[in-house]
Amino acid sequence: MAHEAKRGPMSLARRTRRSASTAVLYALLIVLALYFLFPTVFMVVSSLKTDELQLMADMGGVRGFIPYGEIGLGNFQRVFQEMAFGRFFFNSVFILVMTVGIGLLVNSMFAYSLARLRFRGRAILVSVVVALIIVPTESVVIPMLLMVNTVGWIDSYQVQIVPFVADAFSIFLFYQFFIQVPKDFDEAALIDGAGYWTVYARVILPLSRPVFASVAILQGIQHWGRFLWPLMVTRGETYRPLPVAIQQFFSQDPKAWGSIFAFATMTTIPLLILFLVFQKWFVQSVASSGVKG
């Protein structure tokens, strides 16, 4: 008891110091939050301003972040009327779903066989996959352009899907996860007479939901923003994805900023909503992409 009494005044002093440092902490957190929010808020608010002159007049100050004045969905309507936005949006979604979907299957199958099957050269294959992680797409696009041109794939869906299905980093993430799954599980199934396919589908897949989610999210973010390659391999509007479409719309003069922001908002919102809903998964998948210390 005496001990407690002695600590009383000290803990008061400490408490004041702590609440002061909490205030500083919150101040820092809030300033950073404003910094990371303002461009996004500016984009969404501006997309709602149907009066271009007001948008331009507002953008220098606080009013650029407040929806007031002539507010409406006119910019969004114009984007749909004046260009094939629906088409671009479908293209992006379709390419993303196909690339990620087929990729999950193909990459996980390969990783499973690397982690479980015994065959000659397995160890070498693993190191080849690890080595391939560092080959950036950027360093192979020029010859790849020549290749797809030869087979007449320019301006198509497959040219934007097939080259990116197999991904060394995804294979590596799957592999790392699979080797941690205890072998007893699949060995029990194998003894029961199941084949490798059954083990993969019935034992491994259900256990591996987290790694599937991680790979899907990391790949999804990447494919949604893919720009350099579609810029080279799409010609007309038919197969053009969102990033190329918005960049071309943006480079037309005079710039219709209201519509540009409506386009930008519609390109951003789907992924932003997915992120807000599956936040925990997004954070976990990004964390899993780093090395374990």
């Binding site: 996004t40 953008m59 199958m109 390969f110 950027e138 192979v140 696009v141 010859p143």
Partner: protein, 285 residues
């Protein structure tokens, strides 16, 4: 089971990679000219590249960008991770906000910042002028040979730092709490804890963040292509912008392949450095 992935990796990664090395030694063009068959030119492309002032400028810009962005982004990411790792209310919300730019496509980010950087009416100049009581000069961000690259650096950090923050956060949460408890007993200050526990424990995470950010900075293309196309006066030219211009727009596949090969060598050297440092670390353990 492994066949589909192997075939795809070979056709769309290994073959084009080998081809790019091959093309780098030829005068291959995108649209073949029947009157001028492709021929072997030895090291001519590389010799030309090294003396090409545009390429020198691109390399210089790539290195400047990397030397500024990597330390800034890594330090900021660590600071943010430590901030949201504190035990106060609402850190989850702040983490969400800081991470949100990561899910915004770089092309969109560049377009939004393009208007924010508007010299006369843009939010950034106006705000800086207010904060400095009117002393901030009318910086013509993207039209200025001096400011264009820093402007692109700022938005790149804005978009990418949340990703590294999450990686650091995972690293921080892996540090055994006993280490901090033990140091409390020894009466260590906050500063001592940071330098003697946090930083050493985050060594591998930091290395990973530094290396991956370095490689990303070498790839710099989207922001530049949307905002400045390498200008004004090549002040934002990068290796990939130049490769795109040479290979795609001018059809000089041989020359562009030489750029790709040199670009890959830079990435390889950085990655090998990472491996060496990591191995040393393990050897010490």
């Amino acid at each position: 089971m492994s066949a589909p992935a192997i075939v795809l990796l070979v056709v769309f990664l290994v073959v084009p990679f080998v081809l790019s090395i091959g093309f780098a030694f030829t005068d291959q063009r995108l649209i073949p000219n029947p009157n001028l068959p492709t021929s072997f030119v030895g090291f001519r492309n590389f010799v030309r590249l090294i003396t090409d002032s545009t390429f020198q400028r691109a390399l210089r810009n790539n290195f400047t960008f990397t030397l500024v962005v990597v330390p800034v982004q890594t330090a900021l990411a660590l600071a943010m991770a430590m901030l949201v790792n504190t035990r106060v209310r609402g850190t989850n919300l702040f983490r969400t906000i800081y991470f949100s730019p990561v899910v915004i496509t770089m092309v969109v980010v560049s377009i939004v910042w393009y208007l924010l950087y508007n010299p006369d009416q843009g939010f950034i100049n106006r705000t800086l002028r207010t904060l400095t009581f009117g002393h901030w000069p009318n910086v013509r961000w993207l039209q200025s040979t001096f400011w264009a690259l820093p402007a692109i650096m700022i938005l790149s950090v804005w978009q990418g730092v949340g990703f590294q923050m999450v990686i650091f956060l995972a690293g921080l949460q892996d540090i055994p709490t006993e280490l901090y408890e033990a140091s409390d007993v020894d009466g260590a200050t906050r500063r001592q804890k940071f330098f003697h526990i946090t930083l050493p424990q985050l060594r591998n995470t930091t290395l990973f963040v530094v290396i991956s950010t370095t490689i990303l900075s070498f790839k710099l293309f989207h922001q530049v292509w949307v905002m400045t196309r390498g200008g004004p006066q090549e002040s934002t030219m990068t290796a990939i912008v130049m490769m795109y211009r040479q290979g795609f727009q001018q059809g000089r596949v041989g020359y562009a392949s030489a750029i790709a090969v040199l670009f890959f060598c830079m990435v390889l050297i950085v990655s090998l450095l990472q491996r060496t440092v990591l191995k040393e670390e393990r050897a010490v353990d």
